[in-house]
């Protein structure tokens, strides 16, 4: 049997901790933080595929999140279908949107993609706010009480917790698989030096498109899960700029382009956000967003590799000092 490395041991302990969390913290407040953490980790990990691994920085990922969030509730309100039925529609719409944005911008330098994502996300947000078919500025609502298990409308948060945990595990498994396959090496090559990668025969455009589509699929799924759990969506909570910001900041804080970076980013940011909301009284006071801005600037200035890289450096320093002694 293989020897258990400290990293593997750490991951195993963390996974067991996540599995047991709802059993230990039965208080609704802590359970809600746990569910919020999982959702944030899913969204940020999804962003991480294109933003971290491929190095194409999207600052408008809320467009996929919003499409995923609107589709289930739209199907429920229009046809009375269980919200779950809207998930594939949201995913399909997100993939189409990913193609529309990626095709023109991926031929150009990376800044175009960033600008296009923020502009398209804003376009959709403003448009959604004026379109009565999708509830305009008021938004859409899901079923108030469950008509059956298929509505996924539960009274407690524990079922959501385990559904989200399963999705996160699946997403991390897929990312891990990608990391070790040719696709993952292509992504890193593109991120490091796109022109060199192209000259070595990497189908750059195609790989970037695939990364964006995969990222869009899971971001959309995260949006659907959010809408089904919350039972409510409006333009700001679906397509708002802060939805995108949260994905970027969490991934960058933990370490963009690393498997567990977004998870650790969420592990730090979500409790912090919950704490600031309690201290400063509600999310409306904007102090949370001032904090977000400050954190982003500090990461960019001092630790663009995120806390994961910092941790690796500290470990390496400690090891070299120990070896020298």
């Amino acid at each position: 049997m293989k020897r258990l490395s400290p990293t593997r041991l750490g991951i195993a302990v963390f996974a067991v901790g996540l599995l047991l969390y709802p059993l230990v913290f039965t208080n609704p407040f802590y359970l809600d933080i746990g569910v919020t953490f999982l959702l944030a980790a899913i969204s940020a990990s999804a962003w991480n595929i294109v933003g971290g691994y491929a190095g194409q920085i999207s600052v408008g990922h809320s467009m996929f999140f919003g499409l995923g969030a609107y589709a289930p509730l739209l199907f429920y309100q229009l046809l009375g279908w269980p919200p779950m039925a809207g998930i594939p529609i949201g995913i399909a719409a997100s993939v189409v949107l990913a193609i529309i944005i990626g095709m023109p911008t991926f031929r150009l330098t990376g800044h175009y993609f960033s600008m296009a994502t923020i502009a398209v996300a804003e376009l959709i947000r403003i448009f959604t706010g004026t379109w009565d078919f999708v509830g305009a500025a008021i938004g859409l609502q899901g079923p108030a009480t469950a008509r059956g298990w298929w509505d996924l409308t539960f009274r407690g948060e524990t079922p959501y917790y385990y559904i989200f945990l399963g999705v996160l595990a699946a997403l991390l498994f897929i990312t891990h698989t990608i990391e070790r396959r040719r696709f993952g090496y292509y992504l890193r090559a593109i991120k490091a030096r796109e022109r060199a990668a192209r000259s070595l025969g990497v189908p750059v455009l195609q790989i970037k498109m695939q990364a964006l589509m995969l990222s869009a699929i899971f971001t959309s799924l995260a949006g659907s899960l959010y809408a089904i759990k919350t039972g409510f969506i409006d333009p700001e909570s679906g397509f708002g700029i802060l939805v995108s910001v949260q994905m970027v900041i969490i991934a960058a804080l933990g370490g963009a382009g690393t498997l567990f970076g977004p998870v650790f980013g969420a592990l730090i940011l979500i409790p912090l956000q919950s704490a600031t909301n309690t201290w400063f009284g509600g999310g409306g006071s904007g102090l949370t967003y001032i904090l977000y801005g400050g954190i982003i600037v500090l990461i960019a200035r001092f630790e663009p590799g995120g806390l994961f890289e910092l941790w690796h450096r500290v470990i390496a320093k400690y090891r070299s000092r120990r070896d020298a002694a």
Binding site: V120, T130, L287, G293, I295
Partner: protein, 285 residues
């Protein structure tokens, strides 16, 4: 006649777009860097004008100059403390740095000034004038004319003066410029100062004619992207024409479709532009 009025109003607004967008395009052209906080600089210019008027008094000339100076130093400070360090870093750091700065400035403004719309107290500029049958508010007229003049001045500064040549030399070839005795760091700091200053003055000019709230920074930042994308990255004359065109499109679409559609039309134009002509009207491919 009403349509003429709409067209003239759109062009006057577009002149201000041209001024602040030329600041964004200057930075892009010079160091291949996008400032996501540019719209926030415009917003700061508006509040700086308000504070100068309320605290110190004085007319548009006074607060115009004060805002220009303040924003110039802000631009230099942002460059020296933040941008200089991320320029050689990864792409993620470059984009995050100004993106985070935008959030920081926007929500600090919300916190200090609240989300309510404010406007400048009336000055001697207030009133309207009859130009050949159309009524034009004097603040809009003066703001628009001044903005277009300043955009041209910026263009001349870049193309006809020694400082301008040095700035362009650094953007063409940093190493060669260094060999000619130009200090790229200083020139880039100057560019950031000029860029922020252009945004700030545009904000101050706009403050004389339109009410605003802290959220305008986001809107103006996006408009500046669209203007720069239309005009071609790095081209000040391009930004000028594109600014006027965008102002015109906004004004006409607000007139025909309704005010809520004016931003939708502009962003949709941006999306179409990315598909059809990503290098812009006057940009190089």
């Amino acid at each position: 006649m009403l349509l003429v009025q709409v067209v003239v109003g759109g062009l006057l607004l577009g002149a201000i777009y041209a001024l602040f967008s030329s600041g964004l395009t200057l930075i892009w052209g010079m160091m291949n860097f996008i400032n996501f906080a540019h719209g926030e600089f415009v917003m700061l210019g508006m509040y700086a004008a308000l504070l100068v008027v309320v605290w110190l008094g004085g007319g548009p000339a006074v607060f115009g100059l004060a805002v220009a100076l303040l924003l110039f130093f802000l631009g230099v400070a942002v460059y020296a403390s933040l941008i200089r360090h991320v320029l050689r870093g990864p792409m993620l750091a470059q984009i995050l740095s100004t993106f985070g700065l935008a959030l920081l400035l926007r929500y600090t403004a919300f916190w200090i000034f609240s989300a309510n719309f404010v406007s400048l107290p009336e000055t001697w500029l207030s009133g309207s004038v009859d130009v050949g049958g159309i009524w034009l508010p004097i603040p809009q007229l003066i703001a628009g004319l001044l903005a277009i003049t300043l955009t041209i001045v910026l263009h001349l500064l870049l193309t006809r003066t020694t400082v301008g040549s040095r700035l362009l030399a650094v953007s063409e070839d940093r190493t060669a410029a260094m060999l000619m005795g130009i200090r790229p760091d200083r020139m880039q700091a100057l560019a950031w100062g000029l860029s922020a200053s252009a945004a700030g003055i545009a904000g101050a000019l706009m403050a004389t004619a339109y009410p605003w709230s802290p959220s305008v920074g986001e809107t103006f930042g996006l408009i500046a992207f669209v203007v720069v994308a239309l005009g071609g990255f790095g081209s000040v004359p391009g930004a000028m024409y594109a600014g006027l065109i965008i102002g015109l499109i906004q004004s006409v679409s607000a007139f025909w479709l309704g005010p809520i559609y004016k931003d939708i039309v502009v962003y949709a134009l941006f999306a179409v532009l990315l598909w059809l002509r990503p290098q812009g009207l006057m940009g190089r491919a």
